[in-house]
């Protein structure tokens, strides 16, 4: 009969409407299963895989529950146990990054020798494609994916070019976002450290034995030259503390004018330097 197909279809839509209503009614006042309060009057909603009706998450009052592996923009890890940045300025992340939106300045000591620490670290979040390669290939677990996706600002530049201060988060923050991975990682790191310690001990023991043998053989030899440490542990720690204090001060007036102005000034300087270089290059190429 003509029209039965239409009627059948209408039946389906009616059922859907009723299902949605039922789903809604059942979960009042909890509204949706798996939801929890977040303070700020925002709730986090998990879409149950067996829900029948259509479900709308009322963003921004409500947010979706993100899975642990959710990736957005990277963050740098400040190891709060050791009071230092995990990043060693090895540059691997800058090399693997497909759109090349990471750039790093490696720090140097007072003699101009490069050290395993960066003085500047930028990620252009407007260019980052959230691929997570930097995280995958970082050998020091120093860079991880942040879950924070509410990054809207009025200007791309300089707001979306994140510097080291903006990128750095304490280890605990990472542990809270990525609990499973964090556990695995910590276990692995412990083991590695243990191994390293053992190796070093063995080495030291061997070296001591060798030295003893040597000194026994040629007691007149001049003492082995010891490389001076580039910076003492105490110095490094002081530096780290200073940085941490800076960060805390900035966090205290987050969004405050001072921090923004400081960053703006930094970016201006960077921009000036880049322009200078561009000019130089042009002159060199005789254009």
């Amino acid at each position: 009969m003509f029209g039965t197909g239409l009627l059948k279809g209408l039946g389906v839509t009616l059922k859907h409407a009723l299902d949605t209503f039922e789903d809604d009614r059942e979960s009042v006042p909890d509204r949706y299963k798996g939801s929890l309060d977040l303070g700020n009057n925002r709730r986090v909603i998990q879409q149950p895989i067996d829900q029948e009706g259509l479900l709308t998450i009322q963003y921004p009052e409500e947010k979706r529950l993100l899975p642990e592996r959710f990736r957005y923009i990277p963050m740098l890890i400040w190891d709060s146990e050791k009071q230092e940045d995990r990043c060693t300025a090895c540059g691997i992340c800058a090399k693997v990054c497909p759109p090349q939106c990471i750039w790093i300045v490696r720090d140097s000591d007072e003699n101009g020798k490069p050290v395993t620490r960066c003085s500047e670290f930028y990620i252009d979040a407007a260019v980052c494609m959230s691929c997570s390669f930097c995280v995958e290939f970082c050998p020091f677990d120093a860079i991880k994916m942040n879950h924070d996706y509410e990054l809207a600002v009025y200007d791309r530049y300089p707001q979306l070019v994140y510097d080291m201060e903006e990128l750095t988060v304490p280890l605990e923050y990472y542990a809270a976002l990525w609990p499973t991975q964090y556990e695995e990682e910590q276990a692995r790191r412990k083991e590695e450290e243990e191994q390293k310690r053992k190796q070093e001990e063995e080495k030291a023991a061997k070296a001591a034995a060798r030295a003893a043998a040597k000194s026994a053989a040629a007691a007149t030899d001049s003492s082995t030259a010891q490389a001076a440490p580039k910076r003492s542990a105490a110095e490094l720690q002081a530096l780290a503390k200073e940085r941490a204090a800076q960060r805390q001060a900035q966090a205290a007036d987050a969004g405050g004018d001072d921090a923004a102005a400081a960053k703006k000034a930094r970016m201006e300087e960077l921009k000036r330097r880049a322009q200078e270089r561009a000019r130089q290059r042009k002159e060199e190429s005789g254009q």
């Binding site: 003509f2 029209g3 039965t4 197909g5 239409l6 059948k8 279809g9 039946g11 389906v12 839509t13 859907h16 879409q47 895989i49 067996d50 259509l54 993100l66 899975p67 642990e68 592996r69 959710f70 990736r71 300025a89 540059g91 800058a94 090399k95 693997v96 990054c97 497909p98 090349q100 990471i102 750039w103 790093i104 300045v105 490696r106 490069p114 500047e120 930028y122 494609m129 959230s130 691929c131 997570s132 390669f133 995958e136 290939f137 994916m145 530049y157 499973t180 921009k271 880049a274 322009q275 270089r277 561009a278």
Partner: protein, 592 residues
Amino acid sequence: MTEGTAVAEAPANNLGLEQDLSDAVVGTWADDTEPAFVIAPDRILDVLTRLRDAHGFDFLSNLTCVDYQGYGGKLRAGIDARLEVVYNLYSTRRGGGSIALHVRVPENDTVPSATSVYPGANLQEREVYDLFGVNFDGHPNLRRILLWDGFHGHPMRKDWHEAYYEEDAKPFRSRHPKGEYAFHEDKLPWAKNTTYPAGWDPDSWQEAVAYVPVSQAPQHANEPHLDTESIVVNLGPHHPSTHGVFRMLTRVEGETILALEPEMGYLHRNHEKIGERNTWLMNMPFTDRLDYLNSMSNNWAYALAVEKLADVEVPERAEYLRVIMAEFTRIVNHTWSIGFILNDLGALQTPALYAIEEREMILDLFEAVSGARMMCNYMRFGGVVRDLPEGWREQAAYLANERLPRALDELDRLLTENEILKARGRGVGYLAVEDLIALSVSGPMIRAGGLAYDIRKAEPYGIYDRFDFDVPTLPNSDIYDRYYIRLLEARESVRILQQALRDMPEGEILGGRGGYTLRAPEGEVYGRLEAPKGELGFYLVSDGKTQPWRYHVRSPSYINLNALGPMSVGYKVADAIVILGAIDIVLGEVDR
């Protein structure tokens, strides 16, 4: 021919050609996984015709070009011709692998157009003309296609540099260790790219519309006794029915379409040039952005091609994971496409929303395993990047065994018997399946015309030979069948999912060298798979470095558009909208 030598004297009949054509083959290229033959330019049409008629190679799958200027590899030593046009032919009747033909062209020379043998060469030859500057003699409509007429140069040539050109290959030196990065804003954005072709005046330029009837001769006499006049109407580029930024330039008489030309390139970003600056691995997340509904199968297609080139093994569990992701993606794509065919028919939003509801559940699963709903970046050379999180398999099994079959049945009940859908869809957009093949159309469109050609069966990749599934076909080759075939295919995907989720073993997920330092051995490869929209292929050439020398995407959306004009002529304007919808394009993949 010993391995690793360039052009040996070709054993004449390697190609299986009869004696009279054996002199057309002037050499073979490299030690390939598949044979590639170098053909004399003036004999290429004879060879193509013979291969099509006598040897069953009825499907011109891929046609592209490679610029070998500055090529450092050993294999091509001593060859002067700068450009090389590449053809990949398949047989849809027999299945099996491809025959690759090469034609060497010196710069600024001409090649005979293959359009007279394979009409499907149309868009692909225009692309080669646009991006490489190769002229095709006898092409009916040789104009630029992805770029506009005022564009200076041919960007896929190796000596062409983009506006913010930094270096030939990533990683760029300015990123580490001194951080000498310069913002693009500071590099004087317009300094380098405002040249026009010689004799070109941007102010006096007007788009020529006279070509509209050129490619399909219009019949101009529906009502001979009336003094009527046909007019040119633009559908798009900014129009909700074009599924993105896409334009159909039509010549209509009344409501009837006399001729239709697709106009595209608005989203063109020269994906392939970016791909040749990138290292092999860096391209993986870029493939996500091609057909952004199906990043999983894009990832797979690219990984497949590279694995073929570099001989990488994939562990068992990873093979299963790939199948699971690809089939979930197919369901996402087909439900989405059903929803939007109905949208184009005027059933605004209801079917689309019902479809998206299921998609939502699948995307949640993708996100849980890969970290992103659409830009999954999940596969690597030699496997996949992460194993399943806890509870994932159970949820997926619930979807595959209970929820999705129920949802597909519901869509079926909602739509299939619907009288309006039948009235609007039956007999509309008809094109005989032979014509579709000749136009290089692939995927659900040809299966809706009655030809059971599916790469998963015809040339199985991965572990598809282990699963029990059918290739559904429908006889009518019209809008209605193109809607319904997608529902049937989604059901088959559910069947595959059920088996894969049941049988998947534990074990390794990433074998071989998946890392970013991969150097593929010198050679070329064409790897393809059955993406939800049709045949997705990657044509790669390696000179043994960390970057691909040539990176070409054979995208089904783009090539299926060959059929848009021929399918629409004679139908009403309102039908053209649905005809386009039923091809199922994604502009990210069309424009690349």
